[in-house]
Homo-oligomer: 457 residues x 2
């Protein structure tokens, strides 16, 4: 083990392949259903929303999928990202644990999201699409896709949850800098948006509604516009595996292998990105790394959601997938980790979680900010509130290792920086934040809203 | 020349010495004067504000000054910073020029400022000081010193220009995250602040006033508190030479040597940091690199200021130095590059500029934002409005090289990212920004306010 704190790869180490866990998974993937018929979906139906290359990746069982040169050429701007050892945090905690973090906040948009945004923009451009549509909550995904679409000369419409649009004008400006058109959702640009506004002109919007608007615009564009999703789907997690592949090389440089890999989970893409290459080690190479997804108690889909088929969006236009869900019309409490406020979860991760291949922990908001500030003061980086969920559990694991007198090698994904989340830190320092525990009635109520699927669940 | 876009050094390449240009300079430095007597200042007087180690660095003629291990150990968190080649910008400009940039925005505070903040905090701690005071305009320097003081367990009082305090609450929160106390200047905490408020309770403050407050608090603390300045002084530029020393190694990795080195100038520290090691090459090694400092037309101290002795602050409490000045009571137009709104300039740089060893160019605000957006769209990094001044001239140089059909190797310092400046970008996109040309009467008026110094000017 060296004395370094930074483990830096060269451009030549940018992965040439994405890793597809489905090639090594012992678990059959549940089908994806058409939201109208609730029967298995056809590629033709999906092709209304996504280019065929991405649909093929969604269902591929090929182990390694080559990353196009054009995508790697843009990855070069910020990849490989650094792996750092949090020595000052280790000292502050007085723990025998070794804490490493992969710093995905070094990307152009400040998070891991461009790993898939660049790829999605590339495949859309290659298929002849002229424009993309998407939703964004906190703004990380919208920013990333703005950058992706700019590089491949595609127009982009971003449907941004209205409450965030008003609270975070700087994220909007960031997207506009890269040429995107940003609309406060619900808008009057879609049938669904108009329906919502007719009932409640002041509706603050939700991620589920914004997805519905972006999907509707793409579906009605006659093939000119397609839709991009920033998490949940297999191809998104596939693109994010560059994080874990680089981390494997960097842990090797450090002369260690993680006992635990930790990431926050909203739709599952940053956690999947770092964890799946280590799950490969567990599945095929006799490794026993624990994999922990961390979610908010306010939106606890893995730990408390129902494992069932559900719609991906509020308007029931997106595909129906089997996942841990809080119900497609779930409105989460106003926690500041906007990227974790989704009702569902990656079906791929849900399958592994259900079968015991990974763990999940739900944590409270105040504890995440406490952890974030301890990390920031030690490591000099203010984390995004989403990433702070992972840090909470990292610190708890390091303290557990101390109590048990164990050396434990912990790796986590610092999925993004918090430069656009300082209002959340301000609210925390001012004592304005609170913890939320989702009432059981809400979950019981969600059960009734699930689609009646005849497939074996 | 390689095909790479990133030139990355290892931790072992973090410089072990700061470079002191005074060892190689053919120009005698003008004296520094006591603001009360206008006679040459004594170390004892300076020691009220600064620890003796920094005063010795201020006047040292030693060529290389060793960086303490404790400082290098914190530099490791983000140093060495990357050097990147802006290939996409080159292509967009269709220029034969090669454009390289040193990315100092990768630091914990998002700019080059921690290079000296960490060092200043270390030397203050080592001298037995318990707390530091400082001013900040846009917030970059205050953030950096907050981090420095946190690491060396020093309290910090930041006097933040009131208009910025109100416009940029997130910078304040950033500083508070690292434990600093931040006050909107003018405050009622100082005699000077109370005088200002008595005349005008709504005074929006200025950098000169905030310096006066921070200096007053330190001077009246009986040695418990000392003052830290983020630019202008020799020891600050000395600490910043790590930028240029790393750049030299990285240009060597790229197999090139710059024909031109460019940086923005407010007090001169980021430009000095990158340029002085290349000036050494000009002075001692027969190199002929052009060195260009870029300033705003709204605050054009080098290009239009008077080269004379002047006070460093509004209240005439800071030392009197010979520099290009717009007058110590100058109130600049409200441009968004807050870090460039200082009335004076590093005396070291002024001496070189006056003797023809460097060039200076003043640029307009709208052109800097235009350049910033072109750079962001190509390179995926939104620059600080200050750094955008350098980028404006980089693009102009690259276009000039194209017109002349010359290969020209351009290196510039990307002194900081613009994540906390999105309001400025928003104003630009909304057409709310304007250009400012300083009226000649203002400069003529400044001449009358200069101290009557009997030293040869």
């Amino acid at each position: 083990m060296s004395d370094q704190v930074k483990y830096i790869l060269s451009e030549a180490d940018i992965p040439k392949f994405w890793y597809n866990i489905n090639a090594d998974s012992p678990l059959p993937p549940p089908p994806v259903l058409n939201p109208l018929t609730l029967e298995p979906i056809t590629p033709e139906f999906l092709n209304v929303l996504f280019p065929m290359d991405l649909i093929l990746q969604e269902v591929s069982t090929e182990r390694y999928i080559e990353i196009p040169k054009e995508v790697r050429d843009i990855y070069r701007i910020w990849r490989p990202t650094p792996l750092l050892r949090a020595r000052r945090l280790e000292i502050a905690l007085d723990t025998p644990a070794h804490i490493y973090y992969k710093h995905e906040g070094t990307s152009p948009s400040g998070s891991h999201k461009p790993n898939t945004a660049i790829a999605q923009a590339f495949y859309n451009k290659a298929s002849g699409v002229k424009a993309m549509t998407t939703e964004t909550g906190a703004g990380q995904w919208g920013t990333a896709l703005s950058i992706g679409c700019h590089y491949f000369d595609l127009d982009l419409e971003v449907y941004m949850v209205k409450v965030s649009y008003n609270q975070k004008p700087y994220r909007r400006v960031y997207m506009e800098t890269f040429g995107a058109s940003v609309f406060a959702s619900p808008t009057d640009r879609t049938e669904f948006g108009r329906q919502v506004l007719a009932k409640d002109p002041d509706n603050p919007g939700s991620l589920g509604m914004a997805i519905s608007e972006a999907v509707e615009v793409a579906a009605n564009s006659g093939g000119k516009k397609k839709y991009g999703l920033g998490s949940v789907l297999n191809h998104v997690l596939l693109h994010q595996t560059v994080i874990g592949e680089e981390s494997l090389k960097q842990m090797d440089m450090a002369g260690e292998y993680p006992d635990v890999v930790i990431g926050c989970v909203g739709g599952g893409s940053n956690f999947g990105g770092i964890a799946l290459p280590f799950l490969r080690g567990n599945l095929t190479n006799g490794k026993k790394t624990r994999l922990i997804g961390v979610e908010p108690t306010a939106s606890p889909s893995l730990t408390r959601g129902i494992y069932a088929f559900d719609y991906g969006d509020t308007a029931k236009m997106a595909p129906v997938v089997k996942m841990h869900t809080l119900g497609h019309d779930f409105i989460p409490a106003p926690i500041h980790a906007g990227g974790l406020r989704y009702h569902g979860m990656s079906p791929l991760l849900c399958n592994f979680y259900n079968a015991g291949y990974m763990e999940a922990i739900a944590v409270h908001q105040l504890g995440t900010f406490e952890a974030a500030i301890q990390f920031a003061q030690c490591e000099g980086i203010i984390p995004a509130p989403e990433s702070a969920h992972a840090i909470r559990v990292v610190i708890d694991e390091a303290l557990d290792a101390k109590e048990k007198g164990e050396k434990r090698v912990i790796l986590f994904n610092l999925s993004g920086h918090g430069h656009f989340d300082m209002a959340a830190y301000d609210a925390y320092f001012s004592g304005k934040l609170q913890d939320y525990e989702l009432p059981q009635e809400e979950i019981d109520r969600a059960r009734v809203t699930l689609p009646k699927v005849s497939m074996p669940a």
